[in-house]
């Protein structure tokens, strides 16, 4: 579904990603684990086109997408849920969803506000509330719902559990699994091994912009050495 091959990227003169290779298969949840500053968010930003890669290739659904504009990549069916949520605080819940809506280019239009409110009942109760007046958890739901409005085939989820109360995070994990059941592929970034374990099929551990480990989530959970070396705080 999503293949990243020897990807390097930099902010200005500071290189952040070095020859990153990873992939997400259709219908699975892959997680990118790493500490703060390991390059997780940068990786997602590069995939969605907010940052131009220095070298390497990114393929999505069999097509090269590196070098495309973010809106073109999004229209191909790759959704992006940023780390800091980036809700349009001036717009209401419904209007935020409207921004995410895209004419389904050759794809069946699956997500409607009504269906999304079934998935996120909280949002349904505040359809006309402005983004600025929502709690962190509600905003996180809205960012995901907003991205789903584009009917993506795969989504990039950047640290969705960050800053959420444990109960809310648990709810979120259920939602992510629900998305998987709907047939979406997910590339998740996480610092929390706990959250990753509850949803992911496969895991990539990155540190300093390099992939240090690739394997199934189960294998990683069992590998105390890798966990201690790259993930424990």
């Amino acid at each position: 579904m999503l293949e990243i091959e020897r990807l390097s990227a930099a902010y200005g003169l500071a290189q952040v990603l070095f020859d990153l290779t990873l992939d997400v298969r259709a219908g699975e949840i892959a997680v990118l684990l790493g500490r703060n500053g390991a390059g997780k968010s940068t990786c997602l930003k590069t995939i969605i086109g907010l940052l131009r890669p220095m070298s390497g290739a990114i393929r999505f659904a069999g097509r090269r997408i590196d070098g495309l504009e973010p809106f073109q990549i999004a229209r191909l069916g790759l959704g992006y849920v940023p780390e800091d949520r980036r809700i349009f605080s001036d717009l209401t819940v419904m209007q935020n969803l409207e921004v995410g809506r895209q004419a389904a280019h050759g794809r069946p239009s699956e997500w409607t506000p009504r269906r999304l409110f079934e998935l996120f009942p909280n949002l349904g109760r505040m359809q006309h509330r402005r983004g600025a007046r929502m709690s962190g958890g509600e905003q996180q739901m809205l960012t995901i719902a907003r991205t789903l409005m584009g009917n993506p085939k795969a989504i990039l989820l950047d640290e969705p559990s960050e800053g959420l109360a444990p109960l809310v995070a648990e709810q979120l994990a259920k939602t992510v699994l629900e998305l998987k059941r709907e047939g979406l592929s997910v590339l998740l970034c996480e610092q929390s091994l706990y959250f990753a374990q509850s949803v992911a099929d496969r895991a990539f551990v990155i540190e300093g912009g390099h992939v240090r480990y690739a394997g199934t989530m189960q294998a990683l959970a069992a590998d105390v050495e890798v966990r201690d070396k790259y993930l424990s705080v």
């Binding site: 902010y11 200005g12 003169l13 940052l51 131009r52 504009e69 973010p70 999004a74 980036r86 409207e98």
Partner: protein, 627 residues
Amino acid sequence: MTASAILIQFLNGLSGASSLFLVAAGLSIVFGVTRIVNFAHGSFFMLGLYVAYSLIDRFGHGAAGFWGGVALAAVAVALLGALVEVLLLRRIYAAPELLQLLATFALVLVIQDFTLWAWGPEDLLGPRAPGLSGAVNIAGHQFPQYDLFLIVLGPTVLLALNFLLKRTRWGTLVRAATEDREMAGALGVNQKWLFTTVFALGALLAGAGGAFQIPREPASLYLDLSVIADAFVVVVVGGLGSIPGAFLAALLIAEIKAFCIGIGDVTIADSVISLPKFTLVVEFVVMAVVLVLRPWGLLGRRLTPPRRVGAVERPLALPSRRAVYALAACGAALALLPTLATGYSLILLTDIFVFALFAVSLHFIMGPGGMPSFGHAAYFGLGAYGAGLLLHRGGLPMELALLLGPLVAGVGALAFGWFCVRLSGVYFAMLTLAFAQITWSIAFQWDSMTGGSNGVIGVWPAPWLASRTSYYFLALVTSAGGITLLWRMFYSPFGYALRAGRDSPLRADAIGIDVRRQQWAAFVIAGLFAGVAGALYVFSKGSISPDSLAVPRSIDGLVMVLLGGVQTLTGPVWGAALFTWLQDAAARNVEYWRAVIGLVIIALVLAFPQGLAGFLRDRFAGERHAP
């Protein structure tokens, strides 16, 4: 004033507010989404008026001809706006925002000369609106029907815009992109298309604002800059990006103007104050007051800088030894030049020295200070007037006047700067513009002191400096000395503190730098050196007029700095040299020299988005750009 006179003045204000609001709303929407301060917006207004004039002339003065002409003129300007966005602005969205400003200013020059070419220099007065050419009796006064129509027009447009922005998908996308255009893009919103439509709408509003003025004011070549200044003020007073704010501000300013004209001269403590004359500056006074009390405008909110990934300014490094030698060699060559060249080239070079110092002084606050002043000519002019008046009215010898004149500029900068450094970004720029405009109007109107529009004449240097060659040396030494001092300060602890305050005011604050005070000091220093340039200028020309501190002179300074490159050290000097030479050569040889300069600037902006010196530095330093 009687109650009925007050009512009439109030209605006058309302009708005046309408076209002001139309223009300002367009400017505000364009700025909100694209973050481009479009200097050419006033030119769109002017074109709307001219095009409407011609169309009505062709279609006939009947109802269909008049209203059809007005509508078509607005649409034509909208199409032009879309074209400008696609061909020019789209290529430079990633460039530094001041460079975008430069590009739109170049458009002003091109459009102005195009208008001159197409319609000639005479003012053109259009016909009255058929069906609305009469007057109605309101409280015993005859009030034009057309003005009543305008009174209705403003709120109608406000409601229409409100509907468009709040109730349509397009409006939702526009508001999303205004807040976070990068995120909107990542959700699949095509910004290119959105920006083009927004720009076209902005141009439409400006064009309509102009076209609707047909029965009220003649089409004139001066409209572009005067309208853009008015529109800036309205937008800033109302709050950038706020349409209701723009409406409120337009109303406020138009009402105050109407009452200034209506009240006429008043006598306070035996001195006559002419309020109608006050209209020249009233909006700038209003803006200064509003910005000091409410720094983000009446209904505005604090601006969040647009998110950008990867654009990191390289810090300004100390010039290499080689570069210092090269500069010294340049200086030496210039010192030897009078043995080879005489006559006109020396005069031109003297001008270049003056403007190089002016540009470097502006660069001092723009570059390390991060404060883009739109009114730096005020201090140039204060220095020039200071020197000229000290010689003429103060009876001081020329040498002393030359030394003390710049202090007048320093004092001006001390007073104005105190207010200005409280703001940042576009608001800072607009407040500096306001103070410059106020200074200009004082110079323009205080006949008994400054000679009014004629200015001060017969300001010649002392005999030992009177020859071309000796004045050339004086300008070279003063300018080189001033520039060296300023450059030295770039790399002093003061300069570093200034840069720290520019890059992160909060962090600078936290390590004990009083950012505001540093900025104030920098503002005063920049003003002082601009004053030195002004004083040099006045003695080289022998006269001074209000033009030398008007808005175009401030813009000249900006153009010089931006042409050379803000994030370079020597850039502004090359920018000043190139621009001064270009202006001189073009003005002497080509009829439409403004258009030539405009086109050259556009070509340079498109070719070298980092400025000339930035380009040369990148080219010859052999450094590889991150892609």
